[in-house]
């Protein structure tokens, strides 16, 4: 057996004399760097994937938020447009309060001794909510105009710039009527 082995591996001298001391650190460094590279690469790769997922998630949330904001702004525009229309309607309505009740209560407030010679109700063209009233009553007592005014007040109107001129047989009264709800 020894003979056979001896035949296979003959005695010979070393091909190289081994690495110098300084060079021996290189393989050690190689092993360290290889191990560290694998660990760090795995860490960086996983981190990158996590950041990519997070970025994608944030981008989706941004899109949703922007979409929501767009929808809310569209609703705001609708409301603003409706409000503008509403303002026009409200402005019109302010000057459209029915006048028939005023004429009726004035008519009812007139006593038997008096008659309405003329009742004029005219809206101010610039401020239609202000109604200029002129009332001419023939005959009756001094308190007739007060009675009529009480009836008007009962409807929620207030009088401004009131003027009364009492003649021999008639009384002229004029005032601006403004509803309290104004």
């Amino acid at each position: 057996m020894n003979y056979l082995i001896h035949d296979i591996k003959s005695e010979r001298q070393n091909v190289s004399g081994g690495l110098p001391v300084g060079y021996k650190l290189i393989p050690i460094l190689f092993y360290l760097v290889s191990a560290s590279s694998i660990a760090l690469s795995a860490y960086f790769y996983l981190s990158k994937k996590a950041y990519e997922t997070a970025e994608s998630d944030y981008q989706n949330r941004t899109s949703q938020a922007q979409s929501e904001e767009g929808s809310l702004q569209a609703k705001q525009k609708t409301i603003v447009a409706e409000s503008k229309k509403a303002e026009v309607v409200a402005k019109w309505l302010e000057g459209s309060r029915p006048l028939q009740p005023v004429t009726v209560v004035i008519g009812r407030s007139i006593n038997k001794e008096s008659t309405i010679a003329e009742l004029s109700l005219e809206r101010n063209p610039d401020i239609p909510a202000h109604t200029f009233m002129q009332l001419k009553v023939d005959g009756g007592s001094a308190g007739q105009i007060e009675n009529s005014l009480d009836s008007i007040y009962a409807l929620g109107y207030e009088t401004y710039s009131a003027q009364q001129v009492k003649g021999e047989k008639s009384t002229d009264f004029q005032a601006t009527l403004i509803h309290k709800s104004k």
């Binding site: 460094l29 760090l40 941004t62 929501e68 809310l72 006048l99």
Partner: protein, 178 residues
């Protein structure tokens, strides 16, 4: 150069390549982290904008609720009549239905506020002479049937006969713009 030295230089090259590769990956990860942080900032800004828009919408809704309620309640009345001929016809119908004696009538369109919801109105100048009660009842029905109408002038005076009154009216009926 001996084989040992060649092997060492080869190893050093491989070490350099590995370090370069890891560093590239690190840079790429840093860039991705920066992109993620940028996306986060954008998300926060967009979310804040959306919240702000939500608050503004709620405030606007609350602020204009009453006004819009009034508008929605009155809108059907304003939309009933779309044109001057329709308004004219409706007023003529009301006069006929009220059976009041019409002395004169004149219709003319007037400008209200160009470009607004109510750009025009039809102004009707009517002179009616009839029984006191009947004339005032008709006036009430006119205002009831045309709730959006505005009586700009109403002059009552004695009529020519007994209990008659002479009623001079100027009525404006709004016509909504398209």
């Amino acid at each position: 150069m001996k084989n040992h030295q060649s092997a060492c230089f080869l190893l050093l090259f491989v070490i350099g390549a590995m370090l370069y590769g890891v560093n590239s990956l690190r840079n790429s990860t840093s860039a991705q982290r920066d992109a993620m942080q940028k996306a986060l900032v954008e998300t926060e800004a967009a979310t804040q904008q959306a919240q702000l828009a939500q608050i503004q919408l709620k405030t606007l809704e609350a602020k204009t609720a009453q006004l819009r309620d009034i508008y929605n309640q009155w809108k059907p009345h304003f939309e009933t009549l779309h044109s001057a001929p329709e308004v004219e016809q409706r007023i003529v119908e009301l006069i006929r239905e009220g059976k009041v004696f019409l002395v004169s009538q004149k219709f003319q369109p007037i400008d209200v506020e160009k470009g607004s919801l109510i750009p025009q109105a039809l102004s009707a100048d009517l002179v009616v002479e009839d029984d006191y009660t009947q004339a005032l009842n008709w006036l009430g029905r006119l205002e009831e049937s045309l709730p959006s109408c505005r009586i700009t002038k109403c002059v009552l005076s004695r009529g020519d006969r007994g209990n008659d009154i002479h009623l001079v009216l100027q009525v404006q009926v709004p016509i909504l713009g398209s």
